[in-house]
Structure formats: C-alpha cells, structure tokens
C-alpha cells in the first residue's frame, strides 16, 4: 500500500503548517479543542462550560445539523442534531470526523505568498494586510490593463456564495465557475425542462418500488435520504439498482442490473414503451397535468424491451417485468434521477426519460414533490447597489454556446478550455475559493496549462490543496466549525452555522475575507455589514426572530408564506412537459431520442467513477480519522479481464487514457463487468502539503478526457476509455 513518508515530506516541504507534529498519524490521540468564546459569551453552556452548541456540518454539501458536545470548555464530539431534517440525529463518517478536519495538523494558519516557482510549494508567511493588499493591487492592475472580464472567479457552492457573487459581479467579471457541470448538470437541466424546477423532492415514506440509475445512495451518502432508503427497504420496498458496478447499494437492492455503460437511456425508453403499450400509466394525471404524451407515445413505439436488450445487455423479459412492476406500483413508484449523472454525452436525454417515466405513472404528490429549494425570500440582506453592466461574453460559453445552462451553474470545463485556447479573449487572473480544479476538472494537464497562462492565482482554503499548491497567494479560511456563515432556510425553518471552536492561527471566515478584499477593490457598497453577526442580524431583521433563539437551538421557524399549489409547474405551459417546446425552439430533440454513445475499442475499458462513503470528492482525504477507516484506493477490474492481461490482485498497473497516465494498485473483483474498470475517486493528490493524503491512490482527473454535453453542459465523466497494463 502506498503510504506517505511523513518525515521525508516535512523535510522536503517548505511550508509552515499546523502546530501538530508529523508523527500525529502514528500516535495521534486527538486533542480536544477549546470552545469558541462567542458560544460562552452567549451563554450556550452551563456554569461548568459544558453543553451543546448547534451548528451545521460542511463535510459535504448536504448541510446536516450538528450538535457539538462541549465538556468543561473543550469540544469533544460532534453529534447529529435530532431536530434537523437532514441528519435526524445521525452523522455519517465524514460528519463524525469533522473535528479532525478542523484540527488537521496540515491546516494553513496564515496567509501564504509564493516564493518559488509555481508548483514547487515554496511559500512564505504573510499578514492579512500584506496578502490582501497584494491581491487587490494585482486584480486592479489586471482590470485596468485587460478589463474586469480578465479576472476569472470560481467557487464550489456554499453558504457564502452570495458574497462571492458580489465580489465577482461587483468587480465586473462575467466569469463564474462552479463545480456543477462536473456533477449534476444533466439532471437539473432535464428537471428544469420537464418540471420547471432543478430537483423535485423525493419522499420515501410511501414508496414501494424504486429504480436507482447509478444512484449509489449508500456510498454517495446524503444522510437523511440514505437513511430513508434503508428504512423503505426494511419496510419491504423493492429496489432495482442499475449500475455497471456492484456497489454497496447493489448489495442492498432487490435486484442489480449490470448495464452496459451509456445505455441507461435505452433502458428507460423501453420502460416507457411497456408502460404506454400496456396502458399502465396514470391516464388522469397525464391528461390533466402533462404536455406531449402523444409525441412520447409515438417516439417510444419502437423502443421495445427487445430493442433495448441488445443495447443494454439486460434481457428483454427482465426489462418488461420491471416496467410492469413499476407501472403496477403506480404513484408509489419512484425512478431516481441520480445525482452525478453527467456520465455520457447522452446523459441529458437519459435524465429527461427518467423524468418522463416518473410523470406518466403519476407519482407526483406521493413519492415526488416540489422542492422547497433555498427560498431565502423571507430573509433580509444588506443593501447593495446594482452590479455594473457587464458586456463581455462568459468564457464558459453560457449562454452563447449553452443556452440551457443556468448562469449560476455554468460549464466549468469549458471555462478552463477557453483559458487554454485564449478565446474569445485572454484572461489573466483566477480567484479560486474552496475549490480544487486540479482534482475536479477532467484532463489535469490542461488545468495546469491554464494556470501557466495566469499572471495571478489566488486561492482560499483550509489546507494547501492541490490547486493551492500552484497558487500565488493562499488565504487561510476558518473551517466550518470556526465561523459564521450566512443563514440557510430549509422549508419553513432557518438554520445557523456558528463557531464552535476559536479559529486557529489567522484563519478568517469567507464573510470577513470577501468584505476586506471587496473594500480594497473599491466595492465596499457590496459588503454593507460590520461583521458576521451583523450580516446575520440583517438577514433576520424582517423575520422578527432574535439571533439568541437561533444560536441556542440552531434553528427557528420562519413566518410562513402561503403554500403554493403543488400542481403548478414553472414551465412555459405550466404543465409537466414531456415534450419540450423550449428544446424544440433551440433545435434540440424535444423528446428524448436514442443515440449510440461511443464505445471502447478492443483492449480498452470504460473508466467508471463513483463515490466512497468515507470521503467527499477530493476534499477529505487528508482527514486522519477518515484515512484510518478508508479502503485502499485501487483500480477495480473483473477477474476475466485481469486474467487476459496477465494481472493479479494488488499488482501495480499503469492506466492510460488519451490525455494521461497513472499508476495504481489493482483490485480484481467480481463486482465489475469485463468491459469496465473503476478507479476510486478523490485520491492521487499532488500537494505535498497534504501529508496524510499525498501519495495515496491515483486521480481519475488525470485520465478524463473533456466531453461536454451540448444541452446541459455536463462533463461526460465515464466516456473516457483506458488501457491497462502491468507497471
């Protein structure tokens, strides 16, 4: 097993990192951190300094409720908040390990300014004033030389996003990168077209029949939904799990279908064919609430189970039976849209077909509901001026290449490609907050090329991650347990993230950093709050909820707005659009049409990606507690395929794609189809400042070829084909 040689690393690394010694991994008894002063001052604890502080997890994006247990002024444990809809008293492995992320010995504790070449990892410590003055000066210089659009901004979706948007739009740049085109663009664009909302809510309380298309809920964990799924299985619900790989979710399913990659669309079109042909659909719902049923019926006349069988590798009889069972379950059925569904160039029509399948069985109002979204409507916000008019095109092609992709979502990989190509114009600076494009974007080499073109790279993070490693200035952010964030409403409740622990070193909250930097850029009017507490108080002002209440309980009930009719959809017709006039106008297929996705040549494999329950993407591998309990990240391959290549379990293999090559240990397993390999994602870190994660596993971003779906802008993550040989 590859293991970081910590002692060697610290000799090589010039970084001044956290206070803990490099031997922490070997003997590491966890030191309980002192409780945040603010919590004490707000009397959240008893006279002994013991009690619970409610806040919100940020080990992934699900935002579970946390109650931090404090004993005599020391924070000793994180518990799930039983009053929170996302955690219901539970926390997953990542949530449980949050203190270790905050107290990671590799935390970056002061601003860092690069002193060596980019990628050498040589930095010197700096004060906030020096770092922010330098960043502001460089950004303004880029603005005056090349225009504000020459600064690119990117961040992974989080609670301080509104302030990040103020920073970039206030500055005058249209160039806004998020992570979402590497994730679920296909799903949200398909849902927006069909239902007029990004992601309808799923309700498992009455579900009897579930189809999970690559939705690996027991490893890609969303605590409450994962829990609900297990409850429904225990209660007798039937689960059909479709995935080329036998995952832990497959082990919980009633039935596993090892489908040929890229053919999920054929499967779902065949499902619709049977349900319509055998009249298993909900005619009343279809007539009253949907548009375009006839077009879908005529389109799917030919997409029979027999037709789909040859494409998917699933027997026609099986497809027919599942369609009949799904139809019989009717409104109690649920076809899960999936999440990280942007796997093939045809993922968008696949998602559309899944949306249509749900609609025709009439499950709306039983297993699917309108999503409450992040309707911050009732909360206030500090006053701010209008953004300056921005005339420059967005480098990521939205909307001029990708008319259906929301501006807030964007096409991140296209943004990077435009930087490399220098068209439609050359950017010169990149501000990256809480993001790791070196690990997340496909074709890592190209991302490093994009960095080389930059006069300025600024990053904000809690560790020196792989992207920070190439940064000119690293700004140390307070971890989620050390700071306030803007409030978040969920349904009729509002939740707070508040400091549990004092920020370590010089780490600061995003609210503070954006205001300080914004002020230096002449954008003070976009940050009209004194400090974090003042910002939150301005949010609460219209609600009449005192901050004390929220701090004490972690959540509060918002003044209710009148519930809207759940049978109204924000589509052009106001109905569920099985046929989309919007797509038709843009000259795209208005109903999902089958096209053959590319297939690997002989001797090549589909490279599958996925999730593991112990990590979130690329951000948690340095957490020593998660490291302790993770699997060795390997390349999975079927026994037959391994045999034909003369490979054995634990062999070090070389995996090669058109854009890169990695070496990794092999795992020979029956869990795989013979035409696929799977690489545990999130590893292969190249930053030596990540002393626990460095040198473990390999990164699939090195191998991924960039393929963008023309409608949703999603990156086709499984359309990369690789060859494998003994290293």
């Amino acid at each position: 097993m590859p293991k970081t040689d910590v002692s060697q690393l610290s000799r090589r690394s010039f970084l001044k990192l956290g206070a803990a010694t490099a031997s922490a991994l070997a003997v590491g008894q966890f030191i309980a951190p002192p409780v945040a002063r603010a919590a004490r001052q707000a009397h959240l604890l008893d006279s002994n300094g013991s009690g619970y502080i409610s806040t919100m997890c940020e080990m992934c994006v699900w935002r579970c409720g946390v109650r931090a247990k404090v004993v005599e002024e020391k924070v000793v444990k994180l518990e799930g908040n039983p009053d929170h809809p996302h955690s219901k008293g539970k926390l997953c492995a990542r949530g449980q390990s949050g203190l270790m992320t905050t107290y990671d010995p590799d935390r970056v504790l002061t601003p860092l300014i690069r002193v060596g070449k980019r990628g050498e990892g040589k930095f010197r410590q700096a004060s906030w004033d020096e770092a922010l003055d330098l960043v502001a000066e460089q950004m303004l210089s880029i603005k005056s030389k090349y225009g504000p659009e020459a600064m690119v901004f990117s961040s992974t979706h989080n609670l301080s996003q509104p302030l990040f948007e103020n920073l970039l739009y206030g500055f005058g740049s249209p160039n806004y990168g998020t992570q979402r085109s590497l994730c679920f663009n296909a799903m949200i664009v398909a849902n927006s077209i069909t239902y007029g909302m990004e992601e309808p809510a799923r309700d498992y309380s009455q579900v009897k029949y579930i189809i999970l298309t690559g939705r690996n809920l027991t490893e890609a964990i969303s605590t409450s939904e994962t829990s609900d799924l297990i409850d429904s299985i225990s209660g007798g619900a039937k689960v059909v799990y479709i995935d080329p790989r036998f995952t832990k979710t497959a082990s919980k399913a009633t039935e596993w279908l090892p489908i040929r990659p890229g053919t999920d669309l054929a499967f779902h079109l065949a499902m619709i064919n049977v349900i319509i042909a055998e009249k298993l659909y909900d005619a009343a719902f279809v007539d009253k609430y949907t548009l375009g049923f006839d077009q879908v019926a005529s389109l799917t006349m030919s997409t029979t189970p027999e037709w789909a069988a040859t494409l998917t590798g699933i027997e026609a009889g099986t497809i027919r039976r599942i369609a009949e069972e799904f139809g019989a379950a009717g409104k109690y059925a649920l076809a899960h849209n999936g999440w990280r569904t942007s796997n093939f160039i045809n993922s968008f029509p696949t998602e559309r077909a899944i949306s249509i399948l749900n609609a025709v069985v009439g499950n709306w109002g039983t297993t699917m509901f309108p999503s409450s979204g992040e309707g911050a409507g009732v909360l206030g916000s500090p006053p701010q001026p209008a953004y300056p008019r921005i005339s420059a095109q967005r480098l990521d092609g939205v909307p001029w290449m990708y008319p259906f992709v929301p501006l807030k979502i964007g096409v991140f990989q296209q943004l990077r490609d435009s930087i490399v190509a220098g068209t439609p114009y050359e950017p010169h600076g990149w501000f990256i907050s809480r993001q790791n494009p070196v690990q997340s974007l496909p074709d890592r080499q190209k991302t490093l090329e994009a960095f080389q073109k930059m006069d300025l790279i600024v990053t904000m993070d809690i560790l020196v991650n792989d992207t920070d490693w190439f940064s000119d200035v690293v700004l140390p952010e307070a971890s989620y347990l050390e700071r306030y964030d803007p409030l978040v409403p969920m349904g009729n409740q509002v939740y707070i993230r508040q400091p549990v622990i004092e920020p370590q070193g010089e780490a600061k909250s995003a609210l503070w950093v954006y205001k300080e930097l914004g002020t230096r850029l002449g954008l003070a009017d976009f940050f009209q709050y004194k400090d974090e507490v003042d910002y939150i108080n301005q949010q609460l002002a219209p609600t009449g909820i005192p901050l004390e209440t929220l701090r004490l309980h972690g959540n509060a009930t918002l003044p209710t707005s009148t519930g809207s009719d759940i049978y109204e959809w924000s589509t052009p017709s106001g109905k569920v659009e099985l046929f989309s006039s919007l797509l038709e106008k843009a000259k795209f297929d208005p109903v999902p049409i089958w096209t053959d996705p590319p297939q690997p040549k002989a001797g090549e494999f589909y490279l599958l990606t996925g999730k593991v329950g112990q990590h979130t993407q690329f951000g948690t591998q340095n957490n020593q507690l998660l490291h302790k309990y993770q699997d060795v990240p390997r390349l999975w391959m079927a026994p037959e395929a391994a045999k034909s290549l003369g490979l054995s379990d634990w062999d070090t293999v070389q995996v090669t794609s058109p854009v890169g090559t990695v070496q990794v240990a092999l795992q020979v397993t029956d869990a795989m189809r013979t035409d696929c390999v799977y690489l545990t994602p999130g590893f292969g870190h190249l930053s030596m400042a990540l002393r626990t994660a460095y040198g473990v596993g390999a990164s699939d971003s090195v191998l991924h070829v960039t393929y963008t779906d023309p409608i949703s802008g999603g990156q086709a993550l499984s359309q990369t084909f690789v060859s494998v040989k003994k290293a």
């Binding site: 000793v76 997953c92 492995a93 949530g95 027991t218 994962t226 699997d631 079927a638 397993t669």
Partner: protein, 258 residues
C-alpha cells in the same frame, strides 16, 4: 450472574451499509489511538457468481458476554463484569497489560494500547449511558443497523427489536465447558459458509486487527433472556471463519504498512 441491567446490542445486518460512521464516532468519543479500533464492520466480501452477487456487512465489537472468558483469566482483576450494568469493563488503573484477556477473548475484541500499556476495548460508551445517551456507534448509525438497550426493560429499543424479529443469531463460544452467552443479537445475518477475503480488514492498520485465538463457535439459542421468542439460529460458523481469515491476514505475507 443476574445484573440490574442487561445491556445488549441488537444489530440488523440487513441495514448496515458499511459507511463506517460508527467506527469514526467510536474513535472520537473514546479517544481511541489512531492505530487501533475498538469496533469493526466485518465485510463478508462478494458471494455468488456474477451477476447474482450478494455482500453483507456485519458490525461487531465486544459482546459483553454473560459468561465472559476474559474475566476468568485476568490476573489483576482489572477486567470485570459490572454488577449493575452487566457490561464487561476494564479498570485501566489496575490493568498490568499482560494480555491474557486479549488471548482469551474468542471474538478478538480486545487490544493492548501500547502507548499506555493497558488493555482497551468497547465499553458500550458507559460514560454516555450514565447521562442517558446511546453508545456513540448506535447514536450515529445512518442505516439504524445498530440498536442498544436494556433487555431487562421490555420497552427498550433492543427488547422491542428482538420482540419483533423473525430470526435472531448469537455467535456463541463454547469453551471450558460453558457458553460465553454473548450480548450481541444479530438480525438477518446471512446464512453463509463461504467467507472470502475481506477488504475492510485490510484497511485498518495491522495492529488494530482482532488478535485471533483458537476457539470453536457453536450456535446458541436464547438463554437467560426473559423474552419469549422463537429464534432461528443460523450462520454460526460465520464469525469463526471471519476470524480464521483475519488470522491468515495477519500471519500471511501481506504487509499493509510498507
């Protein structure tokens, strides 16, 4: 011996998703050294032939036996069965770290914490029980696979789960002419005799692996439990083979620490 409380774990194997939240929660709650673990999730590995595969995950830890083999061999009296709670505990002040109990435990549930020279194991988070909380592993279990409660209290979560169970398995150990009478009751434990190499064991540092000992497991139905129940015991050789496999793993050639 009859104790005031009769604490037991009830673990529904069908609900365990091997997310390992329990492992991390235990590590934090009990400040377990980085190179040790008090509790495990045993991975059965893939069973069957493609595409008809199955795989089960079996959470386990100290079984807090009614007749614990570990207390009998303890020379210092540090390991004892608590007269009130019925939990098997270690007084680490009194422990001399001789390791006899580690060898005696048929379940491999004990280890020597080298940094302190004492034996350590699952305590069912006795410090949490005292303030009315569930053990850390149970409280956070995402799949609600792990339940815990007092079997002397018919309204406890554990009692209710057993009352409604279709089948219950205990992995009992017979040695020295008596049953250990473990207090982990498994629901939906797969009936399997083919234990394959588990990936999970390979991941915790070697020193945290349960130390194997020679033993035989035999099925035991319900004994000394005041809840009438028709128990269908199955899969009793399961853990035996799991631990044999572990032994192979430890004594085998694979070095996880290079």
């Amino acid at each position: 011996m009859a104790t005031k409380n009769h604490y037991a774990f009830v673990i529904d194997v069908a609900r365990c998703i091997d997310c390992r939240a329990c492992l991390v929660a235990c590590s934090v709650e009990n400040n377990v050294p980085m190179d040790h673990t008090r509790i495990w999730v045993y991975d059965q590995g893939l069973q069957g032939t493609w595409p008809d595969l199955s795989r089960a995950f079996v959470p386990y830890n100290c079984m807090h036996c009614d007749n614990p083999p570990c207390t009998e061999v303890c020379v210092s009296g540090a390991t004892y069965k608590d007269a009130t709670s019925g939990l098997v505990l270690v007084d680490q002040e009194a422990c001399i770290g001789c390791g006899y109990c580690v060898a005696a435990c048929p379940y491999g549930a004990r280890y020597i914490d080298q940094s302190r020279g004492v034996v350590d194991k699952c305590t069912a988070c006795v410090q949490r029980l005292e303030v009315g909380l569930q053990p850390a592993c149970v409280a956070t279990c995402v799949g609600k696979s792990r339940l815990f409660g007092d079997l002397n209290d018919p309204t406890s979560e554990a009692s209710l789960a057993l009352k409604n169970a279709m089948s219950v398995t205990r992995l009992d150990y017979e040695g020295n002419g008596m049953d250990a009478d473990p207090n982990i009751f498994y629901l939906n434990l797969p009936d399997t005799s083919s234990i394959k190499a588990s990936d999970t064991f390979g991941q915790v540092p070697q020193s945290t692996l349960p130390r194997p000992s020679q033993y035989t497991l035999s099925e035991a139905g319900w004994k000394k439990v005041a809840i009438p129940l028709v128990a269908v015991a199955m899969g009793a050789t399961f853990l035996a083979q799991a631990i044999f496999f572990t032994k192979q793993l430890i004594e085998g050639e694979k070095d996880f620490e290079d």
